[in-house]
Structure formats: structure tokens, C-alpha cells
């Protein structure tokens, strides 16, 4: 037993931790943008799913770089649907997100048949990945890992140090005040949702192109929802979510590891979800969400 605890922080676990961290952190960064702009995006999971499919498809046809770009683009386009529904038409944000998730359960299957042929509705052929970078101790690492770290820093910088970030955050806190000062709240919310979709698409693309090298149905395993929990635990801060994602990624890495080495138990697979529930129970009331998040905003009617 003590040996096992030693292994829980060992190199093997750290390598799987990094692999689990990348898609989760990317998705959480995305959710950070849409929520700070005032829009809830439950559909982030669906956007990731689209990313997994389009990533695989793009990589198969045009290579891994294009695959990741196509994945990013697909997430952005799905996010555009969410933005039109919630920002322009002011549909209930959760309803729209749920609808996108339902769409993401069916559309990739249809696309798989069209693109990969009959009998291939739940998976793609193997797809090419990017060349890896060798890191001493940890071994081969996807370049996307480095990109993710860079994007994390960039997200913090954009939100806290740029005009766009300030205005975007004001749209999620007090849109009326923002508009009374000439901030275009609608544009800010579109920006937040579209950035979110791009991150989610890239996260999905990483899963299929880099992590697995293939698209399979259900491969996202609800990471989009865990990302939302990570956002809560990270208290909607760019730095906070880095740590909360590390925690969730560590849990996930553990389940992979425990399943192989310790007990082969279907129950263990549920661990990340149970941890998410515990986190929600412990922290939901101790955090401060953006004040206007989830509220529709009608432009041009301040006061």
C-alpha cells in the first residue's frame, strides 16, 4: 500500500495528469470567457464533441495542424449558434446550451457515416498526430501542451490587462453600467461566447488528434461539464482555474492509474464525477460568480 501512495505522485501519474489537464484547462479557459461576459455556456461540452470529430476529420484529410485548426473553427461556429440564440434572441441560456449538447450527440454520428463510410458511425480511422517533443523524465509530449500553457497566460493577460478584457468583464458584471459608458455589451458577449467555442473546439481537437489519434463516440466523457465545475472551484479567475483544473486532472489521472494497477473496478471510473459533485457541494456558496451571468440583456434600454 505505501508503495501505491508513492506512485500516486510518480512520473507516470504526472504524465497522465498533463494529458488530462490540457483538454480540461482549455475548455475551462473557454468557459471563463463566456461567463465573464455574462453568458452561461452549458453547450461547451457539445462544442468539445464537435471539436473531437472535426479534429479527427481535418487531421485525416489535411494533417494534424489543419485538424486542430478545423476543430477550433468548428467549436467557434457552434458557439456562434449559441451566441445568436442567447445574445440576440435572448433565449434561456441553459436551454440553448442543452440543445447544443443534444445536437452534439447526433450530428457527429451522421458526419461519420458521410465522411468515414457505413459501419464507421462511432469512430474514425486512426489519424496523424503532431510530432512530439521530448522532455527529460516525462518523455514525449504534445506541442499542444506548450500551446495550452501559453494560452493560459494569454487568457489571464487579455482578461486583466487589455481594453477588451475590461469591457468583456464589465458586460458580465453590470451590463447597464457598461452600456451607459458606451461599451457595446452585445459585441462583448458575442466575443466571450465565440472565444469560448474556439477554446472548446481546440480542447476537443487535442483529444482526438493528439491524445488518442482517433475519433470515437463519447470520447469527451463529459469534460465540458467538469470544466464548468472547475470554473466554479477556480472562482472565475484565470489563475484560480489553473489550480482547479490541476485538481480535476489529477483525479482523472488517478483513475486511469488505479484501474491499471490497483483495482479493476468500474466504480473507480466515476471518481472524477464524484469529486465534481463534492466540489460543487463544498464551494458553490463560497464563490462569487459574475453578477450578471445568465441574465439576458436588451441593448439600448439602460435604467
Amino acid at each position: 500500500m505505501p508503495e501505491i501512495f508513492g506512485q500516486l505522485l510518480g512520473v507516470a501519474v504526472i504524465a497522465s495528469l498533463i494529458r488530462a489537464f490540457v483538454p480540461l484547462y482549455l475548455a475551462t479557459l473557454g468557459a471563463l470567457f463566456n461567463e465573464r461576459s455574462g453568458i452561461v455556456n452549458i453547450g461547451i461540452d457539445g462544442m468539445m464533441i464537435f471539436g473531437t470529430w472535426f479534429g479527427a476529420w481535418g487531421s485525416l484529410r489535411y494533417g494534424p495542424v489543419a485538424g486542430l485548426l478545423v476543430a477550433t473553427l468548428s467549436g467557434t461556429l457552434v458557439a456562434l449558434v449559441h451566441a445568436v440564440a442567447t445574445v440576440t434572441f435572448r433565449v434561456d441560456q441553459i436551454v440553448s446550451g442543452v440543445a447544443i449538447n443534444i445536437l452534439a450527440l447526433g450530428v457527429p454520428r451522421f458526419l461519420s457515416i458521410v465522411a468515414f463510410g457505413e459501419g464507421q458511425e462511432t469512430q474514425s480511422p486512426a489519424v496523424p498526430s503532431l510530432p512530439t517533443i521530448n522532455v527529460p523524465e516525462l518523455g514525449a509530449i504534445s506541442p499542444v501542451v506548450l500551446l495550452t500553457i501559453a494560452l493560459g497566460v494569454a487568457a489571464w493577460w487579455v482578461l486583466n490587462r487589455t481594453v477588451l478584457g475590461l469591457r468583456l468583464r464589465s458586460a458580465g458584471e453590470n451590463p447597464r453600467a457598461a452600456e451607459s459608458l458606451g461599451v457595446r455589451v452585445i459585441s462583448m458577449r458575442y466575443a466571450g461566447v465565440l472565444i469560448s467555442g474556439a477554446f472548446a473546439g481546440l480542447a476537443g481537437g487535442y483529444l482526438s488528434v493528439e491524445l488518442v489519434g482517433q475519433y470515437t463516440e463519447g470520447m469527451n466523457q463529459g469534460r465540458g461539464f467538469i470544466a464548468l465545475a472547475a470554473l466554479i472551484l477556480g472562482n472565475w479567475s484565470a489563475i484560480g482555474v489553473a489550480f482547479s483544473c490541476l485538481l480535476f486532472a489529477w483525479t482523472e489521472a488517478l483513475t486511469v492509474y488505479l484501474r491499471v494497477d490497483w483495482i479493476n473496478n468500474a466504480f473507480i471510473a466515476s471518481l472524477p464525477y464524484i469529486v465534481t459533485l463534492v466540489v460543487l457541494a463544498l464551494f458553490s456558496r463560497r464563490v462569487r460568480p459574475p453578477k450578471a451571468v445568465g441574465q439576458a440583456y436588451e441593448a439600448g434600454s439602460p435604467v
Partner: protein, 523 residues
Amino acid sequence: MAERAQESAAPGAATPAPLAVECRGVTRRYAGVVANDQIDLEVREGEVHALVGENGAGKSTLMKMLYGLEHPDEGEIRIRGQVERIDSPRKAIELRIGMVHQHFMLVDNFTVAENVVLGSEPARGGVLDLDQATRRIEEVSRGFGTPLDPRSRVEDLAIGQQQMVEILKLLYRGADILILDEPTAVLVPQEIDELFDNLGRLRDQGKTMIFIAHSLEEVLKIADRITVLRDGKVVGTIDAAEATKEQVAEMMVGRPVLLRRVEGKATPGEPLLQVKGLYVAVGGKERVRDVDLLLRHSEIYGLAGVEGNGQVELVEALVGLRRPDGGSVYLDNDDLTREDVRSRREKGLAYIPEDRHARGMVLQMSLWENSVLGQQEREPFSRRGILFPRAMKKRAAELIERFRVKATSVLAPGYALSGGNQQKLVLAREFAGQPKLLIAAHPTRGLDIGATEFVWRQLVNARDAGLAVLLISSNLDEILALSDRIGVLFDGRLVKEFGGSEATMSELGLYMTGARSGEEPAA
């Protein structure tokens, strides 16, 4: 009735300063109601121009038109002599007009600097230059009372400081016409003094200020000239130096004012509501401190106080929406301290919430369904859990008739009613529940004079029939006109109680602002 503004000659007969704002024949109608009727207004550069009038006189509408939030149906607005179409706040900002709203437009978790620069940030290539922002804020705020730290978060500031942030926002944008919508309503006396000092300094710098206010005392203290509005029309503009309170008050209400209490027949009976040592804390802050309150059958108890001194929390604790942190609440010798709203309603409580279209009605539901809200468990509206829509519709029709609610049908949804009519429906419903105790928060806010009179009569009649009423109102006229006893809340404490006919407006004001406290003998 459209008297021309009786422009009194400027003292000293020097050439009057040029006009900063000029309205000519400005009219604004809402759905049949004329909010502003042929308004003529002249505001000179570098003056503090007060705009006074009763609730609903049209002050806010006029100011919103100057700031581009509303648009006139007729008439023209000139800014510094030029005719302008102010179609949005953005346009107003371009014209160097700024407005401090009564409810602040601040982003709570932003710093002072972030709030001030938002929308016109100093930046290089999209990157915020917060150092420059800080410097410019220090520049514009130089010479204003206690300096604000540009790095502190707005949510950590006192109300007066937050208001200063609002003013800094305008100065930062170069505004030289400042509109202040009831800036003193939320302030404590020291803060008011500081605000006036600051406004004085701004006047010295040549800024023009339009100041909406209720308190005539304040108006006479700070304003250079005063324009009085009544029923959407300008009654006149006078020099503050020559005006007396009585004169302005007469202009506001249209005739010499008498203190006219609405007298009823009943005398207070047995004790009904007994509150002892009530404490309520919100977020660690004590909002209600050690309040003792006794309310008798057939009594109207008026609760006066400046907004934010614990009225909301006290009412919520009495209604059952908030757990008190200490003390007890008894109704007819039943301990209600731990009971929730439903049990209290069952024991005879009725409640007219302050925010009635949001908390008193469900706008998407029909009028007949709204007509029993809070009484849904009573017969004949329901029995053993089953609803009886026919009885509910009958009740709705009765309420609509009795309170003259303008509605197309009982089937119409709540949002089909105008605000005033929604309010009448809520009032009618709460009266109809035949309560023992009615807690009424601002029951006539937003109603026209006829409806106000009607509601007052209803309250007094119900009182005569045995009802106890706890009346919370920011309208001291209302408190003085109706109350058998009056209590003043200041900083969460009940600092003074008066017999209804003993109190005067100015005495209430002294206690409400903390200028006098309960311990000292009343002069």
C-alpha cells in the same frame, strides 16, 4: 394652466451667463399619460440648477431626455446654444453631458480606476495603461475632499465615496454639464455636506449642474436657481437666494399647504404585534439593532427613515423572509420568530412588498391567478389541495372592480397591466385577505394623486375596522397624514417614537439623519 416660467431678474442685473441647456416646448407621452408637457427650461452655465417636484411630476423623464435615455415627442433641446438630437447616452457624453443615476451604475468588483476609465480607456494597442488612468484620475479628483485610492475596489467603498466615483466618471470624460438624480437620497448627513462642498468646488470650476431633489432645505442650501415641476409642467423658475421654503412648497403642490391628516374614528386597541430586541445582520453587518416595536389593533404605525437604515431588513424579518439574529416577534401572543412566511400569513399577516411587480406578482400568469397569490391555500380558492378557478376568477373580478384596476379581462396576463394598475391589484388582493396585520412598503409609490387618496382612504377605513398597519414610506407626507404613531429608524435602531399628531416634518428629519438621537430629550 401652462404658466410661462416666471423668470426673475438675476440679482445685480449683470448680464446672465449664457445658457448651457435650453428646453423649448419639450413634450413626452407614455401610452396616453403626458409625463412632460411643453417644458421650457433654461439652465445657465456655471450654476447649480435644482429641479424639484413631487413624485411623478416629470423630473426624471426630463433628465432622461437630456441624457439620451428617452426622446422627446415634441419640442427641441439646445445645448450651449445648438439644437441637438440626443439619441443615446453616447451622444450625451460627446456633448459633455454626464449623469449620476440615483442607483449607481458601477461595476462592484472593479477598482475605482477601472470604473472611471471603462469605455474610454487610456491604452496602447489595446493594452490598458492603468498607470496613466491612475494619474488622470488623481488629476481630476485633485481638490475634492478625501482623496480616493484609484486601486480600491468599489464594493469596499462607502456610499458617499461610490457617488464620488460616479462624479469622477463624468469629470474624466470632460463633462461640464452634470445631472445628479436625487444624489442625497442615499447619503448620511456628513456625506451630504461633503457632496455639497464638492459641488461647490465644481461650480467654481465653471461646471453646470442640474440637481434633482426632494428636500427643500438642501435645495435652498446648494442651488442658485430652482425650477419647480408639477404634473409634467413647469410651474416656474426662481432664484434660490430670494426663495423661501414655503414659497417653493406652494409651487410644488399648487396651493398653500396645510397639514391635513386623514382622520378616522377608531382608537388603538389591544396589542397585536410585539417585537422585542430584534437584531438582523446581513453579511456580517448589523442592519437592525435591538428594535422593540409594539403595534395595536386599529393602529397605523408609520416607520420613517432614510433609505438603507434597516427598513428593508426589518420588514423582511417581520414578514418571515429573513431569519432574525436575535430577539422575538409575537403576533397575538403567538411566537412567530421561527415561523416562515406561510405560517405568518395563516396567522393573519398581509404584505405589500416594496418591489411589487417583481415580488408581489407573477407577470406571466393571468390576473385571476395573481388575484389569490399568497391566499391560495384558503377556501374557496382551494380545498384539500384542489384549486377552484371559478372562485379565483370571481375574486379577481371583485378586486378589479373595487380598486378600479384598468384591465381588459381577468384572463389577461399580469404584464398587460401598467405599473400603477399592477400595484392596485396587489393592494386590493392584500386588503381582501382580511388580515389582522398589514405590512405595507411604499404602498402609493408611483400612483397618481387620485389613486393615492383612494389607497389612503382604504388604509384608514381598514384601520377603523380593526386592522393594524405597519406603514413604511419614504414619503413623509404619507407617514404624517396616516400614522397614529411614528417611529424613526436610523442606522438600524428605532431612535424615536412620536404620537402621530405630535411629529413635524423637520423633527422627523432631525432624527432620520441622526442629527438628534433618542437619548437626548426632544427639544
